[in-house]
Symmetry: C2
């Protein structure tokens, strides 16, 4: 019995340094940054330092970072917070966005907004021409993810940003799955809004941020109340988690994690394809998250594969954790052209910093046995 966690796109284990930081803050820096006494001011200083660390990493101003409870809240704030722009009511997004974007758009449609859900090509890429064609005189916002959580495809944000600015639209990027994995210069691309979450980068759960470009002035908060976060997000500051988030960001700097994870993922895919036939890798092989491997085992039911892997102590997933259990066929796989049958034969393996070549070897070994066995029964 061994335990290999290959579901890092769902959530990640904490780095030791992060859990130490959270604990230190919980136990010794429990003040409310809004309090004027010493303990409050100590907390306020930690909050300021954490915000600066994060802002520096993304090359933005600390005042442009609004802490939230996570990626879903950030996406909701981005889509709902800026929707009273000169009577405009049209949003452009894609069919492969995270549920927190898709469901928010559906809600906005129910209250009078119109939304275009762009198709993507067979690699999962938004086609810039199609994006430009979708723009009309009611359009005010483009919301697209940087990298897809299921297939890992990375969008060409440069060309999308050019179009957004050509038409003077607000450009929101859901970067929850890409931060720390794909370099992104927010200033150069002139991104207006960017969502991020800590628990995808070995940080704590329950914390994220929305970057809000200072040129955007009028925000309707999702959570009204106290003056925290410059009146853009009320609620007692969750300092331990924010400090842990900053620590996780720190650990990304000058780290070779991404390179190491890429080696493991590539070894995994190469070995698997070498040992198993009738297997397809999904997503954009030329521009894909270095940790993500979406694999269709043709003719095999993914539930059987996942259960068999689970028995062997290997954690993988059928798709986004946010949809699992609720949707049989992934809208993402459908959008890149997979049949229902192939969609039901697809497993996502998402790697992280603790995974080794030896893990990859073991998983391939088990997979070959499992798939061969299932195929022999069918």
């Amino acid at each position: 019995m061994f335990d290999i966690y290959l579901d890092h796109n769902a959530t990640t284990p904490l780095r030791e340094e992060v859990s130490h930081e959270v604990m230190e803050c919980m136990n010794n820096n429990y003040g409310n940054p809004s309090s004027i006494h010493g303990l409050g001011q100590k907390a306020k200083k930690k909050l300021t330092d954490s915000r600066e660390t994060i802002a520096e990493f993304f090359n933005v101003k600390p005042s442009e970072i609004v802490f939230t409870s996570g990626g879903s809240e950030s996406n909701n704030l981005a889509l709902k917070g800026f929707n009273s722009v000169d009577g405009k009511n049209h949003i452009i997004t894609s069919k492969i966005e995270h549920p927190s974007v898709i469901e928010t758009c559906k809600y906005l449609e129910s209250i009078g907004f119109s939304v275009t859900y762009l198709n993507v090509d067979s690699c999962g890429r938004v086609v810039p021409d199609e994006l430009e064609s979708a723009i009309n005189n009611k359009t005010f916002l483009i919301s697209l993810q940087h990298a897809n959580n299921e297939i890992g495809t990375i969008q060409n944000l440069e060309s999308i940003a050019l179009i957004a600015h050509k038409y003077n639209l607000i450009f929101h990027v859901d970067a929850v799955q890409s931060i720390g994995k794909v370099p992104l210069n927010l200033r150069e691309l002139n991104i207006d809004l960017l969502s991020a979450s800590a628990h995808k980068i070995n940080g704590p759960k329950g914390v994220g941020f929305l970057y809000i470009n200072e040129r955007l002035k009028k925000l309707t908060p999702l959570i009204h109340g106290g003056p925290q976060e410059r009146k853009r997000r009320a609620g007692t500051i969750n300092l331990p988690s924010i400090a842990g988030f900053a620590k996780a960001i720190c650990l990304l700097k000058n780290s070779s994690i991404n390179h190491d994870v890429l080696s493991v993922r590539n070894f995994f895919e190469e070995t698997l394809l070498h040992n198993l036939s009738n297997v397809t890798i999904n997503g954009d092989v030329k521009s894909r998250l270095h940790n993500t491997s979406s694999i269709t085992f043709h003719g095999v039911d993914n539930e059987a594969v996942l259960i068999s892997l689970d028995i062997k102590g290997i954690c993988a997933s059928a798709g986004s954790a946010c949809s699992s259990g609720s949707i049989k066929h992934s809208p993402v796989l459908k959008a890149i052209g997979l049949s229902d049958e192939d969609s039901s034969a697809t497993v996502r393996f998402s790697f992280g910093y603790k995974n080794s070549i030896s893990d990859a070897k073991s998983v391939v070994h088990e997979l070959v046995q499992i798939i061969t066995h299932i195929r022999s029964i069918n």
Copy 2:
């Protein structure tokens, strides 16, 4: 130099057992409860257990508990989530509510709702007759706090609940400041919505819940996305904080904390009044949070008092932490009839489980010196 924390209504230190639980969960139960593999299911079990612990404490069903990022989010969800009731658009609240209720109501007014902000009497109590008079045929919701964060006054929820049900209105109780301090039978009072937060009861920051009576069917989520919390609140489950919240609730059971804190608070007030003249205790002396002491030192500026206390390592506050720095005069103190001068002379001391009689003695000793000194200068 000593450190005495008397700002527990702003936030509280974690109990050791709670921080242990959070850490244990962060390090060893980091799965996503939405994942179907073993680690996900382990997390799901912990989530279920935590929800059951909390539901049992409040004598409600686990399915009626929706976890949120804290009290402010819970209050926002309560006020914004049920506002499409048969075209009705009138809300009744009071002038002494928390900013997350007041500011949300102001926002709702800006988009077409009408809100009555009830006066309170000089003790901070809502007068049931005035509440009943404010009801009109457009009223759909009454939102009132159980206990006030600044002066500690506990509302007579029994008589308010009777009125709410007589007119078939939704009854929301902001219990952020009262849970664990004042017993409350949600079933008996037939409360529809109740907001709670962990960090006020020695639990972690960044987590709370909204109790939603199962009779309420149609909720508009604040955060749309994945199917978490039965589609009432999207976002990856913040399991470590939720488990810590459940642990904090557990520790409230059969505990003598409240009795001990009451003794310390009463000793503090009695000794202070015995040693210092021209001092008033605010709030309802007959029905007040056992840990809260709002004191007006007539003729003295509270900022000078707070700074002097801070130098001695004593943390107290001028009012709610959510307003400090932003509002000079507390709307709560104004509502109970204090002049601007008296409001600026008021300090809130809020006690917690670590405070001792000896702490109270020291604080009184320092206060007598500080107040006498300031008065001698004036």
